[in-house]
């Protein structure tokens, strides 16, 4: 028997079995794909929100519009990096979550859109270029361990520089956490004066300690490892509601209220659906529920105030410039790395 004959027989066998398997596989695919939604009823959302935030919103969006939402969940920076990599052929239509200063910093990935209710958004919390649409306002707050610290000892940003807290401040690495970066910039705004001196003093107060996850700030303060910490109001309120032993302080010398937002990815495949999504999350029905359901503050005037949170008007606010913060994002982080790392840094 020649080699060719053998090869022929083997090929025949392979083809035969492939034919037999092929038929059934084809049938199965077509049976399931009949239920799959058509392309114009789809939306791909990258979100860095927690499930309890995105889940009810996505569900309601789907039921109201009939659009199937495909979710990709991840960290803000991770998803933004992914968007940069996919810039040529974006998989995502919408980036949902992340501070608007982060979205601003990755502005190349997004395309501007003015949502239907843009006029109703708080002027301080909307993008003049329409690059992003705010979702919720998140004031930066200070927290302290309610058992270990008496209430009058921490009232403002400047109290953080007290030697009593040195090495006991819970602060997440601003390179990792966007909210921590906002906290750091807020600190700079609140202290005024020379930026470098403030950074240097704060580095001394931290005594070389930073946390690696924003959630650890709460855990560390609640557990008593740290006495005070810097975090977002929403996160802190949730932990208080969960029974953690922490208290909130809205700094008397003012704080920032940077919203987290949502933006449409450049060259999105489902652009119309993405616009619907932005209209939806900035719409009254979602914003109305923001406070009661998510411990977040709405970014627009709503007809029925929930009156659970301290009204924003009662919180001393700084004139925080989002675009300044995102423009100087890298510069601030570099300075911070320099002072925090001490002499070891170049």
């Amino acid at each position: 028997m020649t080699t060719r004959t053998i090869r022929g027989l083997v090929c025949l066998a392979v083809v035969w079995s492939l034919l037999l398997t092929g038929c059934t596989a084809g049938k199965r695919v077509s049976a399931a794909s009949a239920y799959a939604p058509p392309e114009d009823q789809r939306l791909v959302v990258y979100t860095s929100h927690k499930e309890e935030v995105y889940q009810p919103i996505i569900k309601e969006f789907e039921e109201r519009t009939g659009i199937w939402v495909e979710l990709v969940v991840g960290g803000t920076n991770e998803l933004l990096d992914r968007l940069t990599q996919e810039a040529e052929h974006p998989k995502a239509d919408v980036m949902f979550g992340g501070g608007v200063d982060s979205l601003e910093a990755y502005g190349d990935c997004f395309t501007p859109y003015f949502c239907a209710d843009w006029q109703q958004l708080s002027p301080s919390m909307r993008s003049e270029s329409g690059l992003w649409t705010p979702f919720s306002a998140l004031p930066v707050v200070l927290i302290y361990n309610a058992t270990l610290v008496s209430p009058d000892r921490l009232t403002a940003w400047r109290d953080l520089f007290s030697p009593a807290w040195q090495g006991r401040i819970a602060f997440c690495d601003p390179n990792i956490s966007g909210s921590s970066f906002t906290g750091l910039v807020t600190l700079l705004y609140a202290m005024g004066g020379n930026q470098d001196e403030t950074l240097m003093d704060f580095a001394v107060s931290l005594d070389g300690r930073q946390l690696n996850r924003s959630g650890d700030v709460l855990t560390s303060v609640a557990g008593g490892t740290d006495l005070v910490g810097i975090t977002l109001e929403e996160t802190a309120l949730k932990r208080v509601a969960a029974g953690d032993d922490i208290a909130l302080v809205y700094p008397a010398d003012g704080t920032s209220c940077v919203p987290d937002g949502c933006a449409i990815v450049k060259n999105a495949r489902h652009l119309e659906n993405a616009q619907l999504f932005l209209d939806f999350i900035s719409g009254e029905d979602v914003q109305q529920r923001m406070e009661a359901e998510f411990s977040r503050r709405p970014v627009r005037t709503v007809s029925q105030e929930a009156e659970i949170l301290l009204p924003l008007s009662d919180i001393p606010l700084l004139d925080y410039d989002i675009s300044w913060a995102s423009e100087h994002h890298n510069g601030i982080l570099m300075s911070w790395a320099f002072y925090f790392g001490g002499e070891e840094q170049p």
């Binding site: 035969w16 079995s17 399931a32 789809r42 309601e60």
Partner: protein, 569 residues
């Protein structure tokens, strides 16, 4: 032995292919057919179960729809919800009669237009207030009929999993309130248990493939997202090697997908078993192939081996070998032919030995003839001198001639120029002339160009002696002539002619092939003929014929024409 190895290997590979290929082909085909049949059966079973499930859901929907229609049409319910001042017992009575058929499969709540709970089939409300701007109430307001929505209720059996709602308006079209129907895990369990077989699991998904109910609660979290992802990616819900297969059905009104998870018809273990059987069979094939390969090659190789050793024996010059034919097949015939060849070879060799022996005898005779020749030569010389002293010239001449002949005879050369042969012949003739008192004449005629041809020594003398002794006996005026001629380019013909009594008729023709006994009295001719044939082959030798006028004899010797310092022609 290279032959055996390659031969055996080839046989083995051949057997292996011939057995393994059909086996594997068969196994693959059987596996496929088996799988297809099992799958078709499992598919149809699963379809039947799914039909049961959708039938149950259809029934449920009909109940809900009738309830909602009855409550919407009720003259008490809408006003009660809108104004909140009607007798509540009438509302309850309406509620209970409307929910008669489906009360066991769900709870029914009535909310007013603010979303505040007012009435329900159980005592306490599911939740005291619902948002009208969100979720099911919002959806109900947008629709005329029933709307359905999945609820994340948790894993307990009383957890609400699925809600339906309908908007209730007054006769004037005013917003009055909402009917909310809630199904718990136990409701679903009660409804659907028994519609599918126990080894399968059921998963209900909403319109967007989010989990509503699962017969095993954990499937909601693990399986549902996976299936949704596959659906959106456009992939098949399950593949060849997956543990489970999934059947799907859709209840349109409620927007519920029923997914029936069943173990794959061809489980991993069955697949493993079939593979084991196939591999086992393949191994048996390999073993049989090796066995057959060895056996056949041995069967073929045994005769070859015997032939091989027989050839070895022959190479060592043992011709008394016999290879038994063993079997009457191609190899047997080969052995027989080998035997025949051997017999022929043996015969040839015996012939050769016989020839050699004859040659040896001739040489021995020659050696005997050379016995102490110097003594004879010296004696002849002495005789020559004594006869000269005593004035007997004939004796002197004879002894001189005899001594020359004798020297010629004992000289070591085997071949001599024809010129020299003729000179010695002259000596002999001189002796014979003295003996026979000159009763004959002799004439030699050798062309110049042939004088230096090489001939075996002493071949002319016996022929001439034969002519003198037998031909010229009693003949007066006898004459002997020796002539040499060239025939063609490379044959020398030496002819001795006499005018004597001639030959007996039975002696004419080629001298060859006469036995020694027959040549008695003509031993000289016999010897010459033998020498010529032994030296030059059967084509050469003596030829005898009668002279031209019927008198005398002509003896011609043919031999290859060779010269000194010249290769064979």
């Amino acid at each position: 032995m290279k032959l055996t190895r390659s031969f055996r290997t080839r046989l083995f590979v051949g057997f292996l292919l011939a057995s393994l290929l059909p086996l594997l082909l068969c196994s693959a085909m059987l596996l496929q057919i088996f799988r297809l049949q099992m799958e078709a059966q499992a598919d149809s079973e699963s379809d039947v179960q799914l039909i049961h499930v959708t039938t149950a859901l259809d029934g449920l929907y009909d109940g809900f729809r009738q309830t909602s229609l009855a409550l919407k049409a009720s003259p008490y319910v809408a006003p009660a919800l809108a104004q909140g001042q009607t007798d509540s017992s009438m509302v309850y009575s309406e509620l209970y009669s409307a929910t008669e058929g489906s009360r066991s499969s769900a709870r029914f709540d009535l909310y007013d237009r603010e979303g505040i709970w007012r009435y329900s089939t159980p005592r306490s409300p599911l939740s005291p207030q619902l948002s009208t701007q969100w979720g099911i109430l919002y959806a109900a307001r947008q629709s005329d009929g029933l709307v359905f929505s999945q609820v994340d209720g948790g894993e307990s059996s009383s957890a609400p999993l699925f809600q339906a709602a309908a908007h209730i308006t007054t006769t004037h079209g005013q917003d009055a309130g909402y009917l909310v129907i809630t199904m718990t895990r136990s409701n679903f369990h009660q409804l659907l248990d028994g519609t599918y077989s126990s080894q399968n699991d059921l998963l209900l998904l909403d319109r967007y493939w989010r989990p509503v109910y699962a017969s095993v609660a954990s499937l909601s979290d693990t399986l549902a997202p996976l299936l949704r992802e596959k659906l959106l990616e456009g992939e098949a819900l399950y593949g060849e090697g997956d543990v489970y297969a999934y059947g799907t059905a859709f209840q349109e009104e409620m927007g519920l997908y029923a997914i029936l998870q069943r173990p794959q018809a061809l489980t991993q273990s069955t697949r493993g078993l079939l593979t084991t059987v196939t591999v086992g069979s393949a191994l048996v094939c390999v073993v049989i192939s090796i066995f057959m390969g060895l056996r056949l090659s041995r069967q073929m190789f045994y005769p070859i081996e015997r032939l091989h050793s027989a050839i070895g024996e022959v190479a060592h010059n043992n011709l008394d070998v016999y290879v038994p034919p063993y079997r009457d097949d191609e190899l047997g015939q080969l052995a027989q032919r080998f035997n025949g060849m051997l017999v022929a070879l043996k015969h040839n060799q015996e012939q050769l030995v016989e020839n050699q022996r004859e040659l040896n005898q001739a040489q021995i005779r020659m050696l005997q003839a050379q016995l102490n020749p110097h003594f004879l030569c010296n004696t002849l010389d002495t005789m020559k001198w004594i006869s000269k002293i005593n004035q007997v010239p004939q004796v002197a001449l004879m002894s001189t001639n005899l001594a020359d002949i004798l020297r010629f005879c004992i000289s070591p050369e085997e071949f001599v120029p024809l010129r020299r042969e003729v000179e010695i012949l002259q000596r002999y003739i001189e002796i014979q002339k003295i003996r026979l008192s000159g009763a004959f004449s002799f004439h030699a005629e050798i062309p110049q160009e042939l004088e230096d041809c090489l001939v075996p020594k002493m071949i002319l003398q016996p022929i001439v002696e034969n002519a003198i002794l037998h031909g010229l006996e009693g003949v007066e005026d006898g004459h002997i002539q020796v002539q040499a001629e060239k025939v063609g380019s490379c044959v020398l013909n030496i002819v001795v002619t006499d005018n004597g009594k001639g030959l007996p008729s039975d002696m004419t023709g080629a001298y060859a092939h006469r036995s020694r006994e027959l040549s008695r009295g003509h031993l000289g001719l016999y010897n010459v003929d033998t020498i010529l044939r032994k030296y030059y082959g059967e084509d050469f030798g003596l030829y005898l014929s009668t002279g031209s006028q019927g008198r005398g004899a002509v003896v011609s010797a043919t031999l290859p024409l060779r010269r000194e310092e010249e290769a064979e022609c």
